[in-house]
């Protein structure tokens, strides 16, 4: 009969109307500035640079190898390598980024920089409230704004950070053990040991790893 | 009373003149609606409520709309390059003025026109209805018949005559304008669909059986 389907539909909407009061599960809306959905552990928004210890300038893991700059699909990373070197977490002298800029307005949050980084130096942040009245300067993040501590990394990605730390600790232990063994052996092999130290995972010299183009 | 009459009369007359003299036909139609509204107001002023409302309902609600529709359907809304009045417009105006003069002469010479306003009558709707259904029932029926005939006639006249207009409006699919670009050769049936599928797929046509004719009733 004509009208039957419409009445069925109206019963359905009435059920939803009542349901929205009796069953708050139906309301998926979150009233944003007051309530926030807790960030998922895997959530990603924009990259940041991890540093160990307290000093952002000294503890920065990035060695300015520029792999992420090359792999970045929208090319939003800009790196200038330093002239001098500073010791990394193992103690080996490495370059560090004199300039490390990420243009957040260009970044598309794809996480590829994180995946290709051999040094666990760049990670994804869950912070998304970056709106800014300055369209260009305000969204161009430099090294100082990007640098966040390892503790912060632990806070936002607990499982992942624990894995990363374990891996780095293992590598450090391995490297130290090797260095100790080598130091006990010969002074002449010391130079060779330095190159061998990081063979398993982090490449010894970034320039050799970067894909030649 | 006098003031109200003066205002209504002036408004009606101005809009009637505008309706007859403006270049843009849609403006003419809108002015016509104003003139009709003014006349309705005048009926109300003469204590003829029912007629006044009927005037609004029929003239503004229907006739003015019909005029507007006709203007749109005949694309007369655009301004015309030539003069809007005919070549013999002077004669037309002269005749109108003449008619007006004659009428005025007659009105002013008549003794009836000097009659003053009698007491306010109270024709109820019920009374009008009673009259219509008793003394005037034949005219009412005739009007009903006329309206029916007019409706049918108008529909038939204005009906789209494309179907009978014939050849000059028709183009075939091929000479059209690229409609044929995807038109399939006739006779392509499901068998062809199967063969196309087998070209792209890696399996043999046997793997694209026609779906079983198992019919599932949608209703659950």
């Amino acid at each position: 009969m004509l009208g039957e389907g419409i009445i069925k539909g109206m019963v359905e909407t009435a059920r939803n109307f009542v349901g929205s009061y009796s069953d708050p599960e139906r309301l998926t809306t979150v009233e944003y500035p007051e309530d926030k959905i807790p960030a998922k552990e895997n959530a990603r928004n924009f990259p940041f640079l991890v540093y160990d210890g307290d000093d952002a300038a000294r503890g920065l893991r990035c060695v300015a190898c520029q792999i992420c700059e090359k792999e970045c699909p929208p090319k939003c990373i800009y790196i200038v390598k330093s002239k001098d070197k500073k010791p990394d977490y193992i103690g080996k002298p490495q370059f560090y980024p004199a300039v490390f800029d990420i243009d957040v307005s260009v970044c598309m949050s794809c996480q590829i920089c994180v995946e290709v980084c051999p040094f666990e130096a760049i990670k994804m942040d869950t912070e998304f409230e970056l709106s800014n009245p300055d369209r260009f300067g305000g969204l161009l993040q430099d090294k100082h704004r990007l640098a966040k501590s390892n503790e912060y990394y632990h806070k936002i990605h607990e499982t992942e950070a624990a894995e990363v730390d374990a891996r780095l600790a293992a590598e450090k232990a391995k490297a130290e053990a090797k260095a100790r063994a080598d130091a006990e052996a010969k002074a002449a092999a010391a130079a060779k040991a330095a190159t061998a130290a990081a063979t398993p995972k982090p490449a010894p010299n970034p320039t050799t790893v970067a894909p030649a183009k | 009373m006098q003031a109200a009459f003066a205002i209504i009369a002036a408004l009606t007359l101005v809009s009637a003149i505008a309706a007859m003299s403006l270049r843009n036909l849609v403006h003419c139609a809108l002015c016509l609606a104003v003139a009709f509204a003014g006349l309705a107001a005048m009926y109300l002023q003469l204590d003829a409520q029912f007629v006044g409302f009927a005037q609004v309902l029929v003239y503004i609600g229907a006739v003015a709309i019909l005029v507007v529709f006709a203007i749109l359907l005949t694309r007369s809304g655009q301004p015309v390059p030539h003069s809007v009045v005919s070549r013999s417009w002077i004669a037309g105006v002269a005749i109108a003025v003449l008619v007006f003069c004659v009428l005025t002469r007659v009105i002013l010479s008549s003794s009836v026109s000097q009659r003053s306003l009698p007491a306010k009558p109270s024709p109820t709707v019920r009374e009008i209805g009673n009259q219509l259904m008793t003394w005037y029932v034949l005219p009412l029926q005739v009007i009903g018949l006329l309206l029916t005939a007019a409706t049918i006639g108008a529909v038939i006249i204005a009906m789209n005559e494309r179907k009978s207009a014939g050849g000059d409006h028709r183009v075939t699919a091929d000479q059209g304008h690229g409609h044929g670009h995807l038109a399939a050769p006739t006779g392509l049936n499901e068998g062809n669909a199967t063969s196309i599928a087998s070209e792209t797929g890696s399996e043999s046509p046997a793997h694209y059986p026609q779906p079983e004719r198992e019919r599932e009733v949608l209703a659950k």
Binding site: M10, F17, S20 | H27, A62, F69, R126, E214, L218
Partner: protein
């Protein structure tokens, strides 16, 4: 002295209105010189109507947005004021402060006049509705005719809006609007004619007076909606009034997904607000007429509830219908133009004409005396309107071969 009299009159007026007493304005008018009285009286009548309906308009927009939100499992507006109550104020301020854009090629005068021409008749329509026992602005002998006459003149305003915008969508929307409004005016009028026939009057006051009785010990009101022809007429009146007020599923003139906003496309700011307001006013007016014709006007549903002031019932019924409109809007998709016209001409028109016959039969069977005559009458009327309903409904959908489809499944 005069001021004291004035306030006494004002107080008396409010008191008398609140307690359903007649001659509410008399004492207040006595304060003024006789020559000024007609004007003052008109102002005293018109301003509360406009004020109340403007408030109702604001509340309804909020109610609609809240209700639709809940139907859609959203929260609805809840930012401005507690529970979003001040949202209409914010909307109004936004509308008023927006730039008033007139397209360069538009016909500026007609473009300007259209919202005004639309707003005037919709407000005029409130003049003949009885809001309470002694609350009728103009007790007109041909009140219903007046209502339909002013209702008919809104079409021209919509055409003006659509044509003067010089926008193809606007023009299409205006053409659709006119076609729709003319088509649905006929079932609207004919379905109310059945009431006029039974009541024997075009006066809303008289029609309500005829519905003022109670049956079955004061628990069954003598409303026209409780008769077979009245129920059918009421439903048809509601459907037609949905179309008249351009509400979903008949919101074809401003079909958002097809014609952007139809005749409103080129309007902004205050003019748009006027259109919006006129649309809601039209909805109130036509719902008020439905209440008057079919739902017993300001009469209470049960006799013992007559002690509640009459206007409360009127506005309660009015808001009930408005909520129904909102509910329908939240459920159904939009019809297409030709289907809409088909529905009007091939379904609503024959059915409403038939309803006239049913009303006549009802009138003439009133003399039935045998036991169970009341029930028999009811059933006769119900069958007379129900069978053609089913048949016409089938014919209407049968032309498109609407069937329950089955689907094949391939493994």
């Amino acid at each position: 002295m005069i001021i004291g009299e004035f306030f006494r009159g004002l107080f008396l007026m409010i008191w008398r209105v609140a307690t359903d007493q007649p001659e509410a304005k008399a004492d207040l008018l006595a304060v003024f010189p006789p020559s000024a009285r007609p004007v003052i009286s008109a102002v005293l009548t018109v301003s509360p109507i406009i004020g109340i309906f403007a408030t109702l308009f604001a509340l309804t927009t909020l109610l609609e947005r809240k209700g639709l939100g809940r139907i859609q499992n959203r929260l609805g507006p809840n930012r401005v004021g507690p529970f979003g109550i001040l949202q209409p104020v914010a909307d109004g301020l936004k509308m008023l402060t927006k730039e008033d854009i007139i397209p360069r090629s538009a016909d500026a005068l007609v473009h300007f006049l259209a919202p005004v021409v639309l707003a005037v008749p919709t407000i005029l329509a409130f003049a003949v509705l009885p809001y309470g026992r002694n609350l009728v602005p103009v007790d007109m002998d041909a009140g219903i005719l007046f209502f339909f006459a002013v209702g008919a003149s809104t079409e021209l305003a919509i055409f003006m809006a659509g044509w003067s915008s010089r926008n193809k969508y606007s023009l299409l929307g205006a053409m659709r609007a006119i076609a729709q409004m003319i088509s649905y005016e006929i079932p609207l009028i004919i379905s109310s004619v059945s009431v006029i026939m039974i009541a024997g009057s075009l006066s809303p006051v008289e029609i309500i007076a005829q519905q003022g009785r109670y049956l079955a010990g004061g628990f069954v009101p003598h409303w026209f909606v409780l008769t077979p022809w009245g129920l059918a007429g009421f439903i048809m009146f509601l459907i037609a009034s949905l179309a008249e007020s351009n509400r979903s599923p008949f919101d074809i003139p401003e079909a958002e997904s097809e014609l952007i906003a139809g005749h409103l496309t080129e309007y902004s700011g205050f003019k748009y607000a006027l259109f919006f307001m006129a649309e809601y006013f039209g909805m109130f007016a036509v719902s008020g007429l439905a209440v008057t014709l079919f739902l017993g006007g300001w009469h209470a549903p049960f006799e013992f509830l007559e002690i509640v002031p009459s206007y409360v019932w009127f506005f309660a019924k009015l808001m009930g219908l408005v909520c129904l409109f909102i509910w329908v809007r939240g459920t159904v998709p939009r019809l297409r133009v030709d289907q809409l016209l088909n529905f009007a001409w091939k379904f609503m028109l024959p059915l409403s004409l038939l309803n006239l016959v049913v009303a006549a039969v009802w009138h003439f069977t009133a003399a039935w005396e045998f036991p169970g005559a009341g029930l028999g009458r009811w059933l006769l009327g119900a069958v007379m309107i129900g069978v053609p309903y089913v048949w016409l409904g089938r014919a209407l959908s049968g032309s498109k071969k609407i069937t329950q489809r089955t689907y094949r499944f391939a493994d």
